[in-house]
Symmetry: C2
Subunit: 297 residues, 2 copies
């Protein structure tokens, strides 16, 4: 077995990941859940130290399918998208399914899609409003249609985000603060992390051109670890979106200009797994300072 | 406006529910999230008092589509199901979407479906194993394809469950304890709740016959409130499934018999909204004993 397959097998054995015999159940067990709760609390601690008031919001894993268009996700990452199909509203509800026939052959678009990135519904909610530099924090379930045996690459995963919408200066400052604070947070947890300028063509319609600029402009920093030898993983990022979401969702600052936005995002399962790879599978035996930061008893 | 529409408008106005201009964003704001966190803690308190060790697990909102068949949900409630469609694996990833053409016309079944009831992935995970009366607790996101203006009836909602799998005696006892403890919990929060024997044809293939028996056998008790005059809502239930899931998922007790199961489930958003209807929209001003039980400061 490869080192990655070994690591996955041990995650299942130790109750971190729950899979059924088809490998399809995407569950997580008690030790991982305790670590995830601790990571969320640690991010909230950093936010509190920054002094800016943070508003907590939460969005469901399912959203209106059109959000996937409004963000340009449908052209940037169509292969990762999941849209939801169901029975037409006027279909008779109870029915018998003939043996051997697919029971969903008459399903069609329901109008719902799966959220691909935790902060997207936030912009849809704020669409057409004035924003003033408020920070929002949320945990969102994300769906990416890329089944894999890699335990760091899950079809459904949770992302914790802290997002600021406001002036260019407010957004840039948010990215600057979290680039530094994010790095410090990971290192305080004993993770050997480096930050790397990255590109990520989430910029919809303008596509590849902006993706190239992104690296030059340092719009995206990823926090990268190597939990398994030879296997680098990004466990978070600090991003400055310029006016991308501000324009697409008609959000403006008080002076009438398009809002700029920035976000810090942590992949919760990924970070928890990186901690397991670093400190072992029993959080109760992790170094004192890590247990304190993550409220592990 | 009806009383229900008035209530919904106030939930949006007070930041409990977050909707965009299309009404499609299913978000929840800070006050509701604080109450939901308190409800989860209060359920854990009840579990701890019962003395039985409880194992925490968590399942993603997305599961293998076949789970919908294994539970019989595809014949019992086909109209509520959501299955996930995506691009075929071999589709070229990046592409241009011709103006006016649906960008998902070539999507097909991805093999994933949305979890309809929080405890179902638990049975898939435990399939083929021996169970010994362990209690599992989890918060799960559920999808029901029934868009509605009723704030108590959300397409995507969270359910907290405490499930026991074991002998018939263990499962019956779990239902008995939680029928009483659930009622006491709601009443301690100031909710005027009554419990009602109910039926719920989740029993798959055998369908209607079992649904009738269910009421006679008292397999399902719902906790019912009337948060808005004339609008009764079930905010939880205590259920005894007999060997339904034990047989379908080949779970056995140490003596080789099919496992029996029982669950207590609380609709988290529903219960939080019922509390808002009862105590008002500012949790900081709720009665002392309710704030203490829900850790509201």
């Amino acid at each position: 077995m490869s080192a990655l397959a070994d690591f996955r097998a041990e995650l299942v054995e130790r109750g971190w990941l729950l899979v059924d015999r088809d490998g399809l159940v995407a569950g997580t067990g008690d030790p991982l859940e305790r670590v995830v709760a601790g990571l969320v609390a640690a991010i909230d601690d950093v936010s509190a130290q920054a002094g800016r008031p943070v508003q907590r919001v939460r969005f469901a894993p399912v959203t209106g399918q059109q959000l996937l268009e409004q963000t340009g996700y449908h052209t940037s990452f169509p292969q990762l998208i999941g849209v939801v199909h169901g029975l037409p509203r006027d279909a008779s509800a109870r029915r018998r399914v003939p043996e051997g026939e697919a029971w969903d052959h008459d399903f069609g678009r329901s109008g719902f899609g799966l959220v691909p990135s935790a902060c997207h519904p936030l912009y849809a909610w704020l669409r057409g409003t004035q924003v003033t530099g408020t920070a929002y924090t949320l945990t969102g379930d994300c769906f990416r249609n890329e089944p894999s045996e890699d335990p760091f690459r899950r079809v459904s995963f949770r992302m914790r985000e802290v997002v600021v919408l406001g002036t260019p200066a407010q957004a840039r400052e948010h990215q600057r603060v979290w680039r530094s604070a994010g790095l410090a947070l990971y290192r305080s947890l004993g993770l050997q992390v480096h930050d790397a300028a990255a590109n990520d063509p989430f910029f919809g319609r303008q596509g590849a051109m902006l993706a190239n600029n992104q690296r030059d402009e340092q719009l995206k920093f990823e926090f990268v670890v190597e939990p398994v030898p030879g296997h680098e993983v990004a466990i978070g990022s600090a991003n400055y979106h310029e006016d991308h979401f501000g324009v697409d969702f008609a959000m403006t600052t008080p002076d009438g200009q398009p809002a700029h936005s920035a976000c810090y995002g942590m992949g919760l399962e990924r970070t928890a797994l990186a901690l397991a790879a670093t400190h072992g599978f029993d959080p109760g035996r992790w170094p004192d300072e890590v247990r304190v930061a993550l409220r592990l008893s």
